[in-house]
């Protein structure tokens, strides 16, 4: 079973990288300047008080023990407790993770729905003004900062037209319709920007296919341009598209913080920025580890997706 062996090899690399990453994150966080005990008690606190607090929080024990405690805790879902608020990190992360996951989870598939037709059209029509126009549009989208587009859409749809509310977030558990009306603009913003970005890869992928022998053969045997591109182009474009989409998901998990700022959504990224601001290092450490884990997991899944898409990889190689 060469497929299974290849998959196992990738799994081993994935687990190893996660472990190395966890150690690196732990060490970086420990090396950050600013003693949390000192910050909590204020500059005027006596050194004895600071030491006592450090002892209470277990900060005086050796690094290696604290690392393994942290790692072991995470394996059964315990990310430790915030020094400042005393509450478990997990209970802070969960509601915010939901917000970010909704934004990312909705915008990625929708942006593909925009990007694939857009890229296919501008590849087919690249010698006509209609294709050039689409291509120019995607260039503008590529240069558009998400927070600027978010502000523009808010100005038009929330302030001017009054179609959607622009005020505080409502969880889906409270009211589905209110939640949905507040998700439209953030998701639309991301879909437009991501769609333009992905469309450029789709376009380049399809243009490559146009130069291939198998495409010429398909055309010569009487297939139409569109049929040739859709039937042969899709799978060939898919490998490079999967890579890009994987990278997009990773960068969006953190990058969503910009959208969260514009639309005042309580997501994971804003939790991270708040925690960094208040030096709540246990929270920072937990969120960063979670994000890095997600990024590595996505990379692992992308690797597996190659095996599924590209039959050449299944036959033993790599």
């Amino acid at each position: 079973m060469p497929v299974l062996r290849a998959a196992l090899r990738r799994l081993t690399i994935f687990v190893g990288t996660v472990l190395v990453a966890s150690l690196v994150i732990f060490l970086i966080i420990q090396a950050l300047p600013g003693d949390v005990a000192q910050v909590t008690l204020g500059v005027g606190a006596s050194p004895d008080d600071v030491d006592a607090l450090r002892q209470k929080w277990g900060l005086d024990r050796p690094l290696i023990i604290r690392y393994f405690e942290w790692l072991g805790g995470m394996l059964h879902g315990d990310f430790g407790a915030s020094y400042l608020k005393g509450q478990p990190v997990v209970s802070q992360i969960t509601p915010r993770l939901a917000v970010t996951l909704w934004i990312v989870g909705l915008s990625i598939p929708l942006s593909l729905l925009v990007a694939i037709p857009m890229g296919l059209f501008s590849a087919m029509m690249r010698r006509r003004w209609s294709g050039a126009l689409i291509n120019a549009l995607s260039h503008v989208g590529l240069a558009m900062p998400v927070f600027f587009l978010g502000v523009l859409l808010t100005m038009v749809f929330a302030v001017h037209l009054g179609w959607f509310p622009a005020n505080r977030y409502v969880p889906i558990t409270k009211s589905v319709s209110q939640w949905a009306s507040r998700m439209v603009l953030p998701v639309m913003t991301l879909v437009l920007v991501q769609g333009c970005f992905l469309a450029r890869y789709v376009r380049a992928g399809f243009i490559d296919v146009l130069g291939e022998d198998y495409y010429r053969t398909a055309r010569a045997s009487g297939w139409t341009k569109w049929r040739g591109l859709v039937r042969h182009g899709m799978r060939n474009m898919a490998t490079s598209l999967v890579t890009v989409v994987g990278l997009q998901i990773s960068s969006l998990l953190v990058g969503a913080v910009l959208i969260e700022e514009v639309f005042v959504l309580p997501g994971l990224g804003s939790l991270l920025i708040d925690a960094v601001g208040s030096r709540d290092l246990v929270v920072v450490q937990g969120v960063v580890m979670l994000l890095v884990f997600a990024v590595l997991l996505i990379n692992f899944l992308v690797d597996l997706a190659y095996l599924w898409i590209d039959p050449r990889l299944r036959r033993g190689a790599a």
Binding site: A31, A143, F148, L253
Partner: protein, 267 residues
């Protein structure tokens, strides 16, 4: 069409450079002093209006171009100075080291630049320098990969073999044969990375993770604008960012098409 790309790119990037250069010697008003009424509209002499404190937007926009260019230059310099030697080094041999570096750059490549910037800003305090360093580090893998790939192409050429056979030291081959040959491609990459760095810095400034409030930056101006009462104060810096990012991006594309006709699209 090809020419159009280059021309638009030149105009866009040229405008930004011009604004930054002129602002070094002249701005309509002092960009860090209150010079008009608060929330001024777009009328003479404040042609782009004034912000919530009454500072002249046109002047701040011009000075903001300096920050934009500075971040681009710093970030690309960091990424290229570390990424290119690593890429060339690995491309010219060194298998084990290459494997380790490839893994490392995979991880760095997957790490969102924003995460790096947030961590760095929390360690060193937020400033233009930390923002540039974070963006620069996150861009290293881009240059390393490109340098490695193009070095491999150059190394398979006959003149490299000739140089090796005649006993030329590896370092001389790297400096005299490899670097000059991969330089044009790297230059194009630099333009693309430059525009991405500008976009990333604007985001960091919007989050308050770049320059302090006293230094005018476009991202910060957009954030501080109250778009309910003064929509133009948000739109103006936003458009400036789009022009800069698109300008340098198209400049890179245009130069690449000009340098390498083989990259022309199939008919």
């Amino acid at each position: 069409m090809k020419k159009l790309t280059l021309v638009i790119g030149l105009i866009g990037s040229g405008l930004v450079v011009l604004a930054a250069l002129v602002s070094l010697v002249w701005t309509p008003f002092d960009p860090s002093k209150v010079s008009g009424i608060r929330y001024g509209s777009l009328t003479w002499p404040h042609i782009l209006g004034t912000d919530a404190l009454g500072m002249d937007t046109a002047s701040r926009l011009m000075v903001g171009a300096q920050t934009t260019l500075l971040v681009g230059i710093l970030a690309v310099a960091i990424a290229a100075l570390i990424g290119v030697p690593l890429g060339v080094f690995v491309g010219m041999g060194h298998k084990t080291l290459g494997e380790i570096l490839a893994r490392g750059s995979d991880i760095l490549y997957a790490l969102p630049a924003l995460l790096l910037a947030i961590l760095l800003a929390s360690a060193l305090g937020s400033s233009v320098t930390t923002a540039s360093i974070a963006i620069g580090i996150a861009t290293i893998p881009v240059f390393q990969r490109m340098a490695r790939a193009s070095t491999l192409t150059v190394m398979s050429q006959d003149y490299i073999l000739a140089a090796q056979v005649s006993g030329t030291p590896t370092s001389v081959i790297a400096l005299r044969h490899v670097l000059p040959n991969i330089a044009p491609l790297l230059g194009v990459q630099a333009a693309a990375s430059f525009s991405m760095a500008i976009l990333a810095e604007a985001g960091l400034a919007y989050l308050g993770l770049s320059a302090p409030k006293t230094v005018p930056t476009w991202g910060r101006m957009l954030r501080d604008a109250n778009f309910l009462t003064q929509p133009m104060q948000a739109v103006i810096p936003g458009i400036a960012i789009v022009i800069a990012v698109m300008g340098f991006n198209l400049l890179g594309d245009g130069v690449r098409d000009y340098l390498d006709p083989r990259l022309q699209e199939v008919r």
